[in-house]
């Protein structure tokens, strides 16, 4: 059994159109991997398929979390097994505070009748907020309701910190962020890096990888990983452009 998030020959379709054409990728626990790819290459599809979004149909392959398949499990079961997805476009939940939302999410991981103690919860929450440099008043706001792009992403990272997943997939976490917000979010991710967490950063731009420096970079074209390499690959990509990789594929 491999202690990793493994994607093996994954094929997936939406409305009958195949988007992922047999994708292979392994993220060992403790490492940070990045997927770079153009719009439409299937990056976000990959994230949603792993999380179990009902709109997508898996037509082949497997996704294994520490050796066990998670395909076929409901999205909430996958989450409780330790998979976290930081959304590109997080949903708003009017009337539900961030604090209450995360508390409900934590309680969902515990047996009934053994709900997390309020004092214990807030201690943990404030510890994480200090770590991520998030203001205390933040969690009394309704989840993503009227949030700026930066606030939404900050909220995703805070949830990731609180839920302590085994593997986290960050879907275009840099989209819609100015440089200051980007730095705050990157600081958050970096402070959560460690041997207990495997991270997959999905991005369109190399810029984010200046702040979250990956161990391995993968390039995705048309629903497949076409090239993998050390962090320098991101810079090469930036310099030579996506056409370079696409030419590599077609050659």
């Amino acid at each position: 059994m491999k202690i990793a998030l493994e994607i093996k020959g994954l094929k997936a379709a939406i409305n009958g159109t195949e988007i992922l054409h047999g994708l292979n990728l392994t993220i060992p626990k403790g490492e940070v991997h990045a997927i770079m790819g153009k719009n439409g290459s299937g990056k976000s599809t990959l994230a949603k398929v792993m999380a179990g979004h009902p709109d997508y149909e898996v037509t082949g392959g497997d996704v294994l979390l520490d050796g066990k398949t998670i395909l076929g499990l409901d999205p909430d079961v996958r989450a409780r097994e330790g998979l976290f997805l930081a959304f590109q476009y997080p949903s708003e939940i009017p009337g539900v505070t961030i604090a209450n939302f995360m508390r409900a999410a934590l309680n969902a991981r515990r047996p009934e009748g053994q709900e997390i103690d309020a004092v214990e919860y807030y201690n943990e929450l404030y510890k994480k907020m200090d770590l991520l440099k998030i203001d205390r008043s933040f969690t009394s706001r309704a989840v993503n309701d009227g949030f700026s792009g930066g606030e939404k992403k900050k909220n995703e990272i805070l949830q990731m910190a609180m839920l302590e997943p085994k593997y986290a997939v960050l879907d275009e976490t840099d989209s819609g962020l100015d440089i200051d917000a980007l730095k705050i979010v990157a600081h958050g991710v970096n402070s959560l890096r460690g041997p207990k967490l495997g991270i997959l950063v999905i991005t369109h731009y190399q810029r984010l990888l200046d702040y979250i420096v990956p161990d391995v970079v993968h390039v995705m074209v048309d629903g497949r990983i076409v090239k993998s390499g050390p962090k320098e690959l991101a810079l090469e990509m930036e310099k030579k452009g996506y056409d370079w990789v696409e030419n590599l594929v077609s050659a």
Binding site: P75, D76, S91, V96
Partner: protein, 473 residues
């Protein structure tokens, strides 16, 4: 080799037996099915009604028989009520109990099944709880009694306190107000009578639990509450009903009177089984500088028709209706509010939130009336609807009639949906589909619920959780 991580699907099941229980029908008095003058005589004899009540009931029966069903504006589903199939009177034949020890065991068992927490049960020591048609338990908290507060069943009210009872009974809601108020006036039994003397501020909310416990048994409580000058009272009413296959009819009348400067808050959380017709008339009469507030939560039932109202009779009187309606598949919540401004500088506020799930249907009907000759009146109306899946339906019929100058009305309405993306987002955090929906709904009603007394907001949350989890999968 790969294996499935977790064989266990998240447990969406709720205790289906919750509320689905009844006890042997060992009623000492049973008027049989159907409604004739003989039924009225039977009820009067059994209850030892005074003559004026017998006469009142018989007049009401005539009005009820003459009045057509309001199907020209309301649901045609009313036509499926077969009035002849109901029992109109059942009684334990026992006098209302005074202490907890004297309460029959099956009643205590009911409280237990309803999941009323231990400390809340202790709280019930100061509480009037109705079990079927008579008050099974009635223990006025000593302190309340010492303050001169009368808190008894309607039967004791009309017998022992006729001087106050008769003055207001049927005055806020006349028999002929509508077909169902007439029905209630003919066969009423049970319900509470409360009088709070001048200047007395009742600290603890008075509380009553209502249940229906016999098949085909229509329950017709009659509640009359009078809060005298400068006095204050909060009254809480909660309902859950067992599940039966045949139709159950519930038609209550609640009349509130707030004298000069009084404050009266009436809170209802109802959770009916899906076969219940709940056709209720509730109205308050607010004198000068008084305040009447209805907090009304309707969950369950096949059809609920309920439009709590306030007649703002005295200068600077204030009326408020805060309501939450949750219509699950096969259910229709037809609710709303009435504000009749009848004096200068009166203000009213209506906030209505409805949730429709599956094929559930929520209708809001509002009536705000401010006649031409009045000055300085204000109304604010807000209606928000939440739809969960595309089948559900919501309608809003606000009728706001404002005449004259210097009166202001404000009306806002919104319809929103719980989207599949929102549910997926919450599931990705580890919440089951049911928990996710429940959280969305609780979020939607949150700003209203925050105004409720603590124990009721907790109970409401629990009811929403059960309802939402039951509606998934």
């Amino acid at each position: 080799m790969s294996e499935t991580l977790s064989q266990d699907k998240p447990d969406l099941k709720i205790d289906q037996d919750q509320g689905n229980f009844s006890y042997p029908e060992d009623y000492a008095f049973d008027a049989g099915t159907g409604l004739t003058e003989k039924t009225i005589d039977y009820i009067c004899d059994a209850k030892e009604d005074p003559d004026w009540v017998r006469e009142f009931r018989k007049k009401a029966l005539k009005v009820f028989k003459e009045k057509p069903l309001p199907t020209h504006w309301a649901s045609k589903d009313l036509e499926s009520i077969h009035f002849d199939d109901f029992r109109y009177y059942l009684s334990k034949g026992a006098k209302p109990k005074r202490t907890w020890d004297e309460v029959p065991d099956d009643v205590k068992k009911t409280f237990e099944r309803l999941g009323i927490p231990e400390k809340e049960r202790a709280f019930l020591a100061g509480v009037e709880a109705q079990f079927d048609s008579e008050a099974a338990y009635s223990n006025i908290k000593k302190a309340v009694a010492e303050q001169g507060v009368i808190f008894v069943g309607s039967r004791e009210g009309l017998k022992d306190h006729p001087e106050i009872f008769r003055k207001w009974f049927g005055k806020v809601i006349p028999t002929a107000d509508n077909k169902f108020s007439a029905l209630n006036s003919a066969v009423f039994s049970g319900g509470s009578f409360i009088y709070v003397p001048k200047g007395v501020k009742v600290k603890h909310p008075l509380q009553a639990y209502f249940r229906i416990n016999a098949e085909n048994f229509g329950q017709f409580e009659r509640t009359l509450i009078i809060v005298d000058e400068g006095a204050e009272l909060t009254y809480m009413e909660g309902c859950t009903a067992p599940k039966f296959d045949s139709v159950t009819l519930h038609s209550a009348v609640v009349e509130l009177v707030a004298m000069k400067g009084a404050k009266l808050q009436y809170i209802t959380v109802q959770n009916w089984s899906p076969n219940v017709f709940n056709l209720v008339t509730k109205r308050g009469l607010a004198h000068e500088e008084s305040e009447i507030k209805w907090i009304d939560c309707n969950i369950g039932s096949r059809l609920t028709m309920k439009y709590p109202g306030v007649i703002l009779k005295g200068r600077k009187a204030r009326g408020e209706v805060l309501s939450i309606a949750l219509a699950n598949s096969g259910q229709h919540q037809d609710t709303g509010a009435k504000m009749i401004h009848a004096a200068d500088e009166t203000t009213s506020n209506i906030i209505s939130k409805s949730i429709s799930i599956g094929s559930g249907r929520a209708t809001y009907r509002g009536l705000v009336h401010i006649p031409r000759h009045l000055k300085g009146c204000k109304n604010n109306t807000e209606c928000d609807a939440l739809l969960i899946n595309t089948e559900s339906r919501t309608d809003t019929y606000p009728a706001i009639v404002t005449r004259g100058e210097g009166n202001s009305v404000q009306h806002e309405a919104s319809v929103s949906k719980v989207s599949a993306e929102q549910i997926f987002y919450m599931q990705q955090r580890g919440l089951t589909e049911g928990q996710a929906m429940s959280l969305s709904v609780n979020g939607f009603v949150n700003d209203l619920v925050r105004q409720f007394p603590m124990e009721y907001s907790v109970e409401l949350k629990r009811l929403i959780d059960l309802e939402m989890e039951g509606s998934v999968g």
